[in-house]
């Protein structure tokens, strides 16, 4: 190099241009500053906690009827009142949280698994596989969601959480696949992918080592925003009587049961409906916040 006599330390560009901060912590910091998203995140964490707790404890048993006066309004001992069978609504709400979260997150796990795999492969290899995939995606888009769900539920049998998760995932995987495919198509043109190829990377390394990590941002956002959509779908199905079967609690089925009594005891419908609404909103705010936080262009 230019000067043999210099000590190693001062030969180097000693200081990196910016303080050490990974892209994730940068995003985290930006997310924290978004009040709405931060509040939503706390709320959702709370709902998750409630859901987990409900596995082992609820204020009152939900399998026994008459624990509280049927149609009873909110009172000290029962903050949300009782439903038509005399069950404590608060306890049922907690269990409903568990159901909703399981369906919401469960669906997304399936969607991620299928969507990411299909999207990555189609986007990277293109050719006939991509053509087939695109065709399949478009076919699925053509079929009305509800119809697919109905058919599957009838075929496989009602009631089980697994069936519902599967049914919903079948109608939702295309969004993720299309997103991932789009991301793959654009990322594979970036110079560092070319550089990886020049470095001798095999396709598997390029797909999972380079493309996927760089597509995670939009994927996470999509998955987050997909949760409320799934929960809502389940609520709707349960409302129609096709989803969760009694006596399992789900916010949708609770609302369905309570509709008949809306004039006498509106709280039976209101409680789960409000819970649904707030939770869905929270997921959407969080999703938006994540999108802004993870947007690489906003690095300032």
């Amino acid at each position: 190099m230019a000067t043999a006599s210099a000590t190693p330390a001062d030969r180097f560009d000693a200081v990196p241009a910016r303080a050490q901060v990974s892209l994730w912590s940068d995003a985290w910091r930006r997310l924290r500053r978004n009040r709405l998203a931060a509040v939503s995140a706390f709320y959702l964490a709370f709902v998750f906690a409630v859901a987990i707790i409900s596995l082992v404890w609820t204020p009152y048993s939900t399998s026994h009827l008459g624990v509280v006066t049927p149609y009873g309004g909110p009172s000290g001992a029962h903050p949300l009142g009782g439903d038509q069978y005399g069950r404590d609504i608060l306890s049922r709400l907690m269990e409903g949280a568990r159901t909703s979260m399981t369906v919401g997150v469960g669906t997304q796990i399936v969607v991620l698994a299928v969507g990411i795999t299909v999207g990555l492969l189609a986007g990277y290899f293109r050719g006939w596989f991509d053509t087939v995939v695109t065709l399949v995606i478009n076919i699925f888009y053509g079929i009305p969601d509800l119809l697919v769900a109905l058919i599957l539920v009838f075929l496989i049998g009602q009631g089980s959480l697994g069936t519902i998760i599967f049914a919903i995932a079948v109608t939702r995987w295309m969004d993720m696949a299309r997103l991932v495919r789009g991301q793959t198509l654009s990322i594979r043109e970036r110079e560092f992918v070319e550089a990886a190829k020049a470095s001798g990377a095999k396709p598997r390394k390029i797909i999972f080592g380079h493309i996927l990590p760089n597509a995670l941002g939009p994927i996470i956002v999509q998955a987050t925003i997909g949760v409320p959509s799934a929960i809502l779908f389940e609520a709707f199905m349960s409302f129609l009587g096709l989803g969760i079967q009694p006596p399992t609690a789900s916010w949708g089925s609770m609302a369905a049961d309570g509709v008949n009594a809306i004039r006498i005891s509106p709280h039976i419908v209101l409680a789960p409906s409000l819970a649904l609404m707030i939770t869905l909103m929270a997921f959407n705010f969080l999703g938006d916040g994540l999108r802004d936080a993870l947007d690489p262009r906003q690095r300032r």
């Binding site: 030969r11 180097f12 560009d13 892209l23 110079e191 550089a195 020049a198 001798g200």
Partner: protein
Amino acid sequence: MAEAAVAAEARRAPGRTLLDVREIVKHFPAGVGQSVKAVDGVTFDIKSGETLGLVGESGCGKSTLGRVIAQLIAPTSGSIVLEDVELTKLRGEKLRQQRRQLQMIFQDPFASLDPRMTVGDIVAEPIDNFGVMRGKQRTERVKELLRVVGLNPYFTNRYPHEFSGGQRQRIGIARALAVNPKLIVCDEAVSALDVSIQAQIVNLLEDLQAQFNLTYLFIAHDLSVVRHISDRVMVMYLGKLVELAGRDDIYDHPKHPYTRALLSAIPVPDPEVQSQRRLVELKGEIPSPINPPAACRFHTRCPIARVPGICSEQEPLLEEKARDHLSACHFANEVS
């Protein structure tokens, strides 16, 4: 430093032929029955230990040619022989294995490094991909590579965005060196850098060449940098080589009107000199590579073309017009 300059001059005597490129053609489909003739029959060789400069303006095909040489794009036809191995016949795993010998340094220091990987992993990627070494040996090699390119070896856990453009380019260079390739294609390796950093990186490339006896194909549009770093220079226009000669020869006595026009257009940072230069104006615009002009591709813009005449009827071949000086022009000796 004086020693480095002397060593550099001593090394200038080129060795044996490392890369033999013959009639490389690369066409890209462009709609019905049409194609972009990005590279349209290019023949040259690169000698071991030399720096071959490749210049031309946009649309000339130099980047495409660079990528074909680096095996990132398959040529439509032609042959590339690297030390007795015919690269164009290789596929799949065999081709991948050959990549060890041909590495590339990219133009954009911001886009050519995976933002989600640590610097250490980026530099080690070729090592990992070819399974050359593992564990402690690998770690030491990465540190050594960083040291050699002038970066602090303790930065292996940092991410690219923490570094400046010049530093990132050094990381890219370290990566290119990782598995001791025979040939490094530098595709506009300094074009995206600030002027003062360019000088640092150019010096670095020269030092590394002396230290490790590297061979470079240096692709650039900046003829000033190319003059400085190259031993021989080739000029491309619309997919063809129009001139190939030794560095001083081509700059001082160009034998192709395009080269001469190009040289006259480069601004020189010296007001006295600038005020005395005459720009050789070229008529019109660069034709589309989908429909390049017939015969001599340059005849539509050439200041000395005989049109109608031989220039619009017969394609000039790239031939030796003076010792070690090839030009594709019917009137090569009238140019200077």
